[in-house]
Every structure is written in structure tokens, then in C-alpha cells.
């Protein structure tokens, strides 16, 4: 089945209708602006056939979807300081200064939504913000419906030389509980029947959305799924250097040792079922999700499927000591997406959007050097960006 992605220029951007409790601001690329408390980043998308751009009843990855090129919707929210099990971490996008090199969004026109949370608790506030953000991302792309696209890409996996190695992407999605959840067709990853194989185009077409607000740099916001560099690379290489065998979604943050082991083995089994000889395993967030990745790496290798793992490092910049939260001997091929503990030089923005104080109470305009950790997606572990670390 083919899916077409039609690209339209940014000047078709429509300013969204006012939404109660949301401040909307359009930030031009390269502005001297720091955006704080960023929850998610979404590419404006709409479907000419009227189906939802971020479907909850599936399927995505069919027909045609329109995108606005060079535009991103950023949602910002400072949750009320109520008692709750999991806490969002600071998340920054700098449109200027040294931090701008850590994000793809600094070169885009941003529609920044700053939510003023009402009552109802963090779960309801978050659900409302996510729903509104996706709706705005759809609304601002509406101008594409009466316009001619600059480009139409077709995503279809034709037959490929059987002698090429079959390669799959094994994508980890977080589900640790409220505020640390990624969604598959609107369903929390932990309830979405994972691991399972999906069509790669589904992932590019809004099937996965992000409600995971752990360490900002290690987050995969919705935009990173819509524009997923790994999936696009595998499409590009299909029939050239490899056969793209498909995508397996699996959950990160399984909650018991037995569940972690079981999930790892089942993910390896699904990769085997779609014929993968090799998989790139991606990661979301940190801590015990890294254990999930390592166990999955081991399970795949034991099943005869070769692996490359994509991970961020978490080491003290002044240390030459080990650098990963977890590691197994089978993880002998690792891509580093950078060290989240390294500091980014201080920068004084002219304006702050999202909230004047960082979550730790520091004034966002005079925050001094900020660790990579706090920059949205900077060391994301799907390989979306080019940041890496090396031994010097």
C-alpha cells in the first residue's frame, strides 16, 4: 500500500483560532527567543480526504497527507505543583545562541502554544494539552488543502534483491505512567499490544504521538516520529544496500524483571517473524528504559539477529569513567547520540516564551550554562540529529 506525503511551503501557515486558556505566538526562525517548559513538538499535517491527521482509530500510512515544511507547533505547559508520582523535567528550545544548534526547530517558524492549566489534575491537564496541540497542528495546515504541493513523496516498499540483508527498526516507546507515556493511535504504549510490527508509513503518518516529559534531551517528541530519520533512511536504502523488513514497536519501562525479559524476547521474536536479519534498536528516555534496550539487544543477538543500538551517554564531563546506565556484552555496536551531561554555553535570550522561571527556579533569561539534558530532543535516541560524543 502506498502512502504519499505532500510538502507545502511554510507561508501557507494559518494562524490558529483562539483557544481558551492557551496563548498562541508565532516565532520566526532564528529569533532571539528561548522557549521553556516545552512538552511536545508537532509538524502541521492534514489529510485532504478529511480523515484525522493523528488518528486514534487507524490506520495511518495510507492515501495522502499534507505537511507544512519548516513549521513546528510547540506546546508549553508548567504543570501545577500538585503531588504526583512522576514529574516533567525542564525542556528548552533555543531559537538563537549555542542551544540553537541542538534542535532542528530553531530554523523553523514555530507556533508556540503556552497553556494555562486549569483544574482537574495533571492527567486531565496533559490529555487536554495533547489533544489541543494535535488539533492546532492540523488546523494550521488547513491552507494546504487549496494549494499545489512543492513536492510529493511516495512511501511504498517494492520488491528488493533477496541477496540484500533484511533490516528492521525496533522502536522503543515509553510508558512509565502519566506524563511519561508515548501513544500508539492515542493508546498508551503499555496498553497498545506491544511488541508488534507496524507498517513503517504508519509511524511517519501520525500513528505515534508523544506525552513523555522525562529528560528533555532523551525525549522523542511527535515531530521526530513524523519526520523519522531512521525510517526515512531505511526507505531510501531499500533495494540499494538493504531490504527494509519493517518496524517493530516495543514498550520501554516494563515494570518487572520478568516483564522486561519477556518483552525483550517477544520483540526479538516479532523481528524474526518479519524476517529481519539485523535491527536498529532505538531508545526513549533514560534509566531503566536502557535496561529494556540492553535486554532486547541480547535477546535479538541470541535469536541470531544482529543489532545496532542507539543510545545517549550520561557521563560527568570531567570523568573518564563508564558512560552508560546499563550494558550487555552483546551490545558491541552502539551509536552515541551525545552526552547529556555536557554543558551548553550561557546565552541571554531577548525573550522567553513558556515561562520565565525554569522548573528549578532559575530565571530562564539568565540561566547560565545549561546541560544538554534540558534541550528538547538534543540527544534523542532515534538518531534524528547528528549530535554524538567521542573520546578525546
Amino acid at each position: 500500500m502506498a502512502w504519499e506525503l505532500a510538502t507545502y511551503p511554510a507561508d501557507l501557515l494559518r494562524e490558529p483560532e483562539p483557544v481558551e486558556g492557551v496563548e498562541v505566538e508565532i516565532v520566526p526562525a532564528g529569533s532571539p527567543v528561548r522557549v521553556t517548559h516545552v512538552l511536545d513538538a508537532v509538524e502541521p499535517r492534514i489529510r485532504p480526504d478529511g480523515r484525522a491527521a493523528f488518528p486514534i482509530n487507524g490506520p495511518a500510512g495510507e492515501g495522502r497527507t499534507n505537511r507544512l515544511d519548516g513549521v513546528v507547533v510547540l506546546s508549553c505547559l508548567d504543570f501545577p505543583g500538585e503531588e504526583r508520582p512522576l514529574h516533567e523535567q525542564e525542556s528548552i528550545v533555543d531559537f538563537g545562541g549555542p542551544g540553537a544548534s541542538l534542535t532542528p526547530f530553531a530554523d523553523m517558524t514555530a507556533v508556540v502554544l503556552t497553556f494555562s492549566p486549569g483544574g482537574g489534575g495533571h492527567v486531565a491537564i496533559d490529555a487536554d494539552a495533547r489533544r489541543t496541540t494535535l488539533a492546532v497542528a492540523e488546523e494550521v495546515a488547513r491552507g494546504t488543502l487549496d494549494a499545489e504541493p512543492d513536492e510529493v513523496e511516495s512511501f511504498e516498499l517494492g520488491s528488493a534483491d533477496e541477496s540484500l540483508p533484511a533490516v528492521a527498526a525496533l522502536i522503543q516507546l515509553s510508558d512509565l505512567g502519566a506524563l511519561y507515556i508515548q501513544y500508539v493511535y492515542g493508546v498508551p504504549a503499555g496498553e497498545a499490544g506491544l511488541p508488534r510490527a507496524v507498517d513503517p508509513a504508519e509511524l511517519l503518518d501520525g500513528a505515534i504521538t508523544c506525552g513523555e516529559y522525562h529528560w528533555a534531551a532523551m525525549r522523542n517528541p511527535t515531530w521526530f516520529f513524523q519526520r523519522n530519520e531512521l525510517i526515512r533512511t531505511l526507505y531510501r536504502e531499500h533495494g540499494r544496500t538493504l531490504r527494509f523488513a519493517g518496524v517493530v514497536l516495543m514498550r520501554g519501562y516494563e515494570q518487572s524483571a520478568a516483564d522486561k525479559q519477556l518483552a525483550a524476547e517477544r520483540a526479538a521474536a516479532v523481528a524474526g517473524e518479519i524476517g529481519a536479519e539485523g535491527v536498529v534498536i532505538t531508545t526513549d528516555a533514560g534509566g531503566n528504559s536502557h535496561t529494556d534496550v540492553m535486554l532486547t539487544c541480547r535477546a535479538c543477538e541470541q535469536a541470531g539477529i544482529r543489532t545496532t543500538v542507539v543510545l545517549a551517554e550520561e557521563t560527568d564531563p570531567e570523568s573518564t569513567k563508564p558512560i552508560l546506565t546499563d550494558w550487555v556484552r552483546e551490545a558491541d555496536s552502539i551509536v552515541s547520540t551525545g552526552n547529556v551531561e555536557e554543558l551548553v554555553d550561557a546565552w541571554t535570550p531577548e525573550r522567553i516564551i513558556g515561562g520565565e522561571l525554569l522548573l528549578d527556579g532559575t530565571p530562564a533569561a539568565e540561566a547560565g550554562p545549561i546541560p544538554v539534558r534540558n534541550y528538547l530532543g538534543a540527544a534523542n535516541q532515534m538518531g534524528q540529529l547528528a549530535l554524538s560524543a567521542r573520546t578525546e
Binding site: P165, V167, G287, R329, D332, S333, L385, L387, S388, E392
Partner: protein, 341 residues
């Protein structure tokens, strides 16, 4: 820009082995190999040479460093250059230690020596340029040493060890690769499938081999240790819920159980609701006391060790572990029940 050059007594022209006890001495301008080095230092002047006997440094390291650093502080150079020391172990060590100390005080520093010189691993965050094993390599060494020193003095951000020609120091530094992580991952995987395994993160992780099993648990002193953020109710010592800066020791006072309302978890990385209804499920004191009464566990150590394992840099977590393990060992603890979350 100003440079200070460090030499041993021999290269500073003060004498051979018989002068190896010479204490730190400040000389004006470039001396000995410093003259050749000066020719390679574009835009940088060697304003002083510091010299010290190799034996003196080895035998009085703290005093020697203190005096040399004081001299450096007075001059406030833009860069410190040490050596080349070639294969000389004592000289290389002195060069490396001084360079490391200077770098630690914010003075850019570079030394030069042979790859097998023990000083190479003592230079901390200072740079070390490779040289031949003996003085015959001076002509090759000075241009490379000079180029790196001039770059450091100018404040230019250095490239990788490979690009700039210094020994790998072991620090992980971020850089922007030419390809995205995704492209590199596909490339690494295809390479591995073709039989050549490569990695961007070396597989030399710190693996702790488990000690042999406890021979007789019924006579062992057993301690409870946790990273579950479990603390007395109210968190009197303000243990952090994330990125803990330390660990705490709490006296169990002979308690049989970690009662709800007396203990709580402040861990910020998981939902503590159920844990706080019964803290024994984080630190199973109730069960271990039962085993103690049944004679299956010798004795429960009366100190609970706790921290929060949530976003803690590995270097800090390693330090906590070493400190706690040291106390447990000194207390005669033979077994630990370590509950993680």
C-alpha cells in the same frame, strides 16, 4: 600571549643526575629546548622557564607542585608547555603532574613524551603530545608541541585527539557528526552484518564480578541497602528525589518493620503510592527480621543505607557505592540485600 616552559634540571642546563635534587627554579625566557620551541610558537612568547630536579620532584611532589604553581600564578601565562620528556619516566611524570595541576587551575597546559612514558596517564585534563623515545626525536616533537601550545594559548577550541595529534585523554566530548545518528546506525548495522563490528561507545564498561556466595547465611551479618529513596517520614536530611547528591545511613533501632507513616520513599522516578502504603516492599525489613528470628539469617545490620537512584551520574553513583561498601566492610557485614527500583 605568554607561555611558561617547564624543563628538568638536565634540559635546563643545570647539570645531570648529580643535580637531580635541584628544587624548583625560575629562569628568564626560553632555555635549552625552549629556544627551538620558541621558533614554533607563533604569536606566543616564552617569558619564563621553570626547572626542577627529577629526584626532587619525585621525592617532594607536593612541595614542588606548590612552589611551581605559585610561580605560574605570578606569571599568569596563556599556556604552560612541559618537556618534551621523551621516555624519561621521572621527568615525564613531573611534566604530566604539573600540566595536570595547571589545567585544573584553568591554565591551558600541554606536555610531550613517549607513549610508554608513565606520565601519559597522569596528565588529567592537560594535553600530551607524542614524541620518540629519546632526545633524537626533538626535531620532530617541537613543531607539534609548539602548534598545539599556540592553539591552546589562542583559546581556539581543539578538535579531536586524532585531528590535533595529542594522546586520547579519555574524556567524552560532544561533537556534531557529519551524518545523523540514524544514518550512522544503519551504516554500523550493515557493517556488522557484513562481518565488521564497529561501535561509537567502547565496550569496556565497569563490570563488577560477583563475589563467591555467602557460605553460611545463618551466621552472617546482613545489611539492607537501597536506591529506592526510602527515608524516615518527612525526609529529615532532604534526600533528593532525583539526581541525588549523596546517601544516608539510618539506624533501624531494632524495628521489626518499616511502618507506613514512619518511612516513605521520595524517589521521583516511579509511582511511590503503593510503596508508601508499605515501605517494606521497598526495603523488606519485615521479611528479613522473620528470617533472623527463624535463624536463617544471622543478624540484621542495624543501619539502613539509602539513596535515590534516579538520573544520578554514573561517576557519583560509583562514589556512593564505594563509600557505602567501605562502611559495610568495616562493620563486618557479609551480605547485602540491595533493593533497586
Amino acid at each position: 600571549m605568554k607561555a611558561v616552559h617547564y624543563l628538568n634540571q638536565f634540559f635546563a642546563g643545570m647539570g645531570g643526575e648529580e643535580q637531580a635534587e635541584t628544587p624548583p627554579t625560575r629562569l628568564d625566557g626560553a632555555v635549552g629546548p625552549g629556544r627551538g620551541l620558541q621558533a614554533e610558537l607563533e604569536g606566543v612568547e616564552i617569558v619564563a622557564t621553570l626547572a626542577c630536579g627529577d629526584d626532587y620532584f619525585a621525592e617532594h611532589e607536593d612541595e614542588a607542585l606548590a612552589v611551581l604553581l605559585e610561580m605560574l600564578a605570578e606569571i599568569a601565562p596563556d599556556v604552560l608547555v612541559a618537556g618534551p620528556a621523551f621516555g624519561s619516566g621521572r621527568y615525564g611524570y613531573a611534566c604530566a603532574r604539573l600540566a595536570a595541576s595547571a589545567a585544573g587551575r584553568g591554565i591551558p597546559a600541554v606536555a610531550a613524551m613517549h607513549e610508554e612514558n608513565p606520565g601519559v596517564s597522569e596528565a588529567g585534563s592537560a594535553y600530551v603530545v607524542p614524541t620518540a623515545v629519546n632526545v633524537a626525536g626533538m626535531r620532530d616533537a617541537l613543531p607539534r608541541l609548539g602548534a598545539l601550545a599556540a592553539a591552546l594559548a589562542s583559546g581556539r577550541e581543539l578538535g579531536s585527539a586524532q585531528e590535533e595529534g595529542y594522546f586520547v585523554r579519555g574524556f567524552r566530548r560532544n561533537y556534531v557528526a557529519e551524518e545523523t545518528g540514524a544514518e550512522r546506525a544503519v551504516e554500523l548495522l550493515l557493517s556488522k552484518l557484513a562481518g565488521e563490528t564497529r561501535t561509537e561507545v567502547g565496550g569496556d564498561m565497569d563490570r563488577v564480578e560477583p563475589p563467591p556466595p555467602v557460605a553460611d547465611l545463618s551466621s552472617a551479618l546482613v545489611a539492607l541497602v537501597t536506591e529506592a529513596g526510602c527515608v524516615p517520614q518527612g525526609n529529615p536530611d532532604h534526600l533528593q528525589s532525583v539526581r541525588a547528591q549523596g546517601w544516608f545511613r539510618y539506624d533501624l533501632g531494632g524495628a521489626d518493620t518499616l511502618a507506613s507513616g514512619h518511612y516513605e520513599s521520595v524517589h521521583g522516578g516511579f509511582d511511590v503510592t503503593l510503596a508508601n502504603e508499605d515501605p517494606n516492599r521497598l526495603v523488606p525489613l519485615d521479611t528479613v527480621r522473620g528470617l533472623e528470628r527463624a535463624g536463617r539469617v544471622g543478624r540484621v545490620h542495624e543501619s539502613l543505607y539509602t539513596t535515590t537512584g534516579n538520573g544520578t551520574p554514573v561517576v557519583l553513583a560509583t562514589k556512593f557505592g564505594e563509600e557505602i561498601a567501605g562502611e559495610l566492610r568495616d562493620s563486618g557485614v557479609q551480605a547485602v540485600l540491595l533493593s533497586g527500583t
